[in-house]
């Protein structure tokens, strides 16, 4: 066995790497400059000339940055398969949304005024921690899903990859902040949810189908709820949590909508597939067996501040808003007509009558 002493005694000069200057004469685009603007040097500012051209298809499964010269010699396949067709993952807004995500990161430790949480009546505290138990659970899956898809994003479509990486971070913070709220004020974690369609999101094997469920319907509903957080919150800390989380969710929803729009603009045949996915997911969302028995009760209870009748009234107000915003997002994405054609699940279309 070689000992450390022996190594020191026999220390040699390190081998000198071979000098190869062939990379000084590449056929890549040269002379590119970018000036920082009002928000600094954003992705949009460097996405110019050849480097800003998004290939409609990419067969490159390596990590080579878009626009770089290919290496000399054999290269390995880095992932079994990539989603090489831009219609599968791309969004025209991905770069902008990533830039925004980076500039709007927040800290659940220091940006929430935890000291504004006074002791709440036990029924209200229980309802709030039940809601937070469900939310930390939902956000946990929302972070797993983009992680699953990352190895399949083509480096040529890096904007979508970066956006999904920022979403992983956002969802970690949401998982964290709702767990913090549950454990911050004398309560604790309560009852796990009954699934609520989370499994359908994680098991999807088509990116656009997954995104329609996660970003447009799932996170869309959550965002509509968070934007009405003022109705649920009992102190400044809770208001802040909902406000900041809603801001993050807006980006995720925007990515889903713009991705679907890009897909349908370039591959209109995909529409029926997405409709079918939404048929299935809407059905799961309203299936009583999939519902968290605690979530609806806790939400109604909080909305009415203990007055269940008033809570129900506000619950239907929230649900109506969720459905209207969902339909609007589909319209923007180019998938209109679910309500008019009777395809929207009756439990959701019924919410519009309330």
């Amino acid at each position: 066995m070689v000992t450390v002493d022996k190594l020191e005694e026999l220390n040699l000069e390190p081998e000198v790497p071979e000098l190869d200057l062939s990379w000084l004469n590449l056929d890549t685009e040269w002379g590119v400059s970018a000036e920082p603007g009002r928000k600094g040097l954003t992705l949009q500012q460097i996405n110019k000339s050849l480097y800003g051209e998004i290939p409609a298809t990419s067969a490159d499964s390596s990590a080579r940055p878009r626009g770089a010269a290919p290496p000399e010699g054999a290269t390995p396949r880095m992932t079994p398969w990539v989603l090489g067709d831009a219609t599968e993952t791309f969004s025209d807004s991905a770069a902008l949304l990533y830039d925004e995500a980076v500039s709007r990161q927040w800290s659940s430790a220091t940006d929430i005024p935890w000291d504004t949480m006074d002791e709440l009546p036990e029924d209200i505290e229980r309802a709030m921690v039940q809601l937070c138990t469900s939310l930390t659970e939902v956000e946990f899956i929302a972070g797993d899903v983009p992680g699953k898809w990352l190895p399949r994003i083509a480096a040529d479509h890096y904007e979508s990859g970066l956006f999904l990486m920022s979403q992983v971070m956002d969802e970690a913070r949401h998982t964290d902040v709702f767990r913090k709220r549950a454990l911050a004020n004398g309560g604790g974690l309560l009852l796990q949810g009954g699934g609520g369609g989370l499994r359908q999101i994680i098991e999807a094997e088509d990116f656009t189908q997954m995104s329609s469920m996660l970003h447009i319907l799932g996170e869309g509903f959550v965002q509509s709820l968070f934007r009405l957080g003022e109705l649920i919150a009992h102190n400044e800390a809770e208001k802040r949590i909902f406000r900041l989380a809603a801001q993050d969710e807006s980006r995720h929803v925007a990515y889903g909508v713009t991705h679907l729009k890009y897909t349908l603009d370039n591959d209109p045949d995909k529409a029926e597939e997405v409709h079918w996915t939404l048929d299935m997911f809407e059905n799961t969302l309203v299936d009583p067996d999939q519902q968290n028995p605690g979530l609806a009760g806790a939400l109604v209870y909080l909305l009415g501040d203990g007055d269940v009748d008033e809570g129900w009234r506000l619950f239907w107000h929230v649900r109506r808003k969720q459905v209207l915003e969902y339909l609007h997002r589909l319209d923007v994405a180019g998938l209109s007509g679910r309500l008019e054609s009777g395809r929207l699940h009756p439990s959701l279309s019924g919410a519009l009558d309330n």
Binding site: V129, F140, Q192
Partner: protein, 364 residues
Amino acid sequence: MPDSDVIAAAKTRLEESGLPSDWLDIPVHWGVKAKEQATPESGGLRFEYLNVDVYGEVPEHWDNNTEIPRGAVPDTRTEQMGYSIFSKAEVWSDLCAGLYEDAIADRWNSSADIPWDTLAPVGSDLEHAVCQIATLISEYGWTKAQTTGRWLQEISYGYIEVKLFLGTVVFDSARLYEVWRKRALSNGGGLGRGGRNWKFLPLTQSYTFSEFCVASIMHDAMLISLLRHGHRLAQTEAERRIYELCEQDIERHLKYFVDHMRYLMLKEPVRREEIHRYMNKAEWYLAKDGDDTLYSALGVILGDGREGAEEAMADVAQLRREQIETYLGYLRQCHLGDREGRLNEELRKWAGMVELEEEEKIPV
């Protein structure tokens, strides 16, 4: 009204309205008030402060394959979610929760926190060299984010702290990718040549999380040694800042990977030889990759142009030696100091270490 009466009244109101009220009966571990530790001096409400009572009990084996939060009451109807890691030894480090909060506190923005206006023309050879290095680091950032991200769907909620921290690694790696891309495309240059990247296969192919961790230690150690030379390599204040901020992130990642491997060696010493196998593979790919583009670009920078590059390669060799020594140093911290005597023979040459006797060479 006493609390029990408040709850009973709440149950009645919910039931009369047709809503389930069982959740109000759950025997909750009442009285946890993490907010009391949230002071500005203590860094606010950090995740570490939540780990009290049952909520802080991290089990050696987690037996629930759903997304149930640790400490919540299970709903046995919930579908299994396909997680595969249920062993604390496979992922754990006591540092996770703190490192997660540190990552958020240390967050930076490549658009606004780099003084891009300090970039200035540096001459064609130097610009080519900086852009070549930027291209290769960017590639590693992409690979690191993708390969770290794929483990999220494997790790169960029992080890939530690990997953939160890995979320920051994914995000930091995204920034590693884009800040170097920005550097390449902002100063009159462009992207260089991509790497062959056989060396990254141990990251993409890993079957166990600990296998991924040792490969990450090797690649992160190689990168951080380079970043630590930022003061010599940077041509402008903007680059100096990029080197510093990236170093800070990679240092944090290494703290986790190293502490986790130390934990694994302590808990499951029987896996030592298995871990050495993974290191054999990672080192072999690194050595065999034979892509000297990085080192040649460093030679051009340290030689202040292609004319001085040949002479500067001796300096580059020292830097490459430091990379291997740094890697071995991190392994010593993991109680894997015996690696020094088993290091891949090609890497031994990089480090100027004596060659192994024939019978000590590791077959791959």
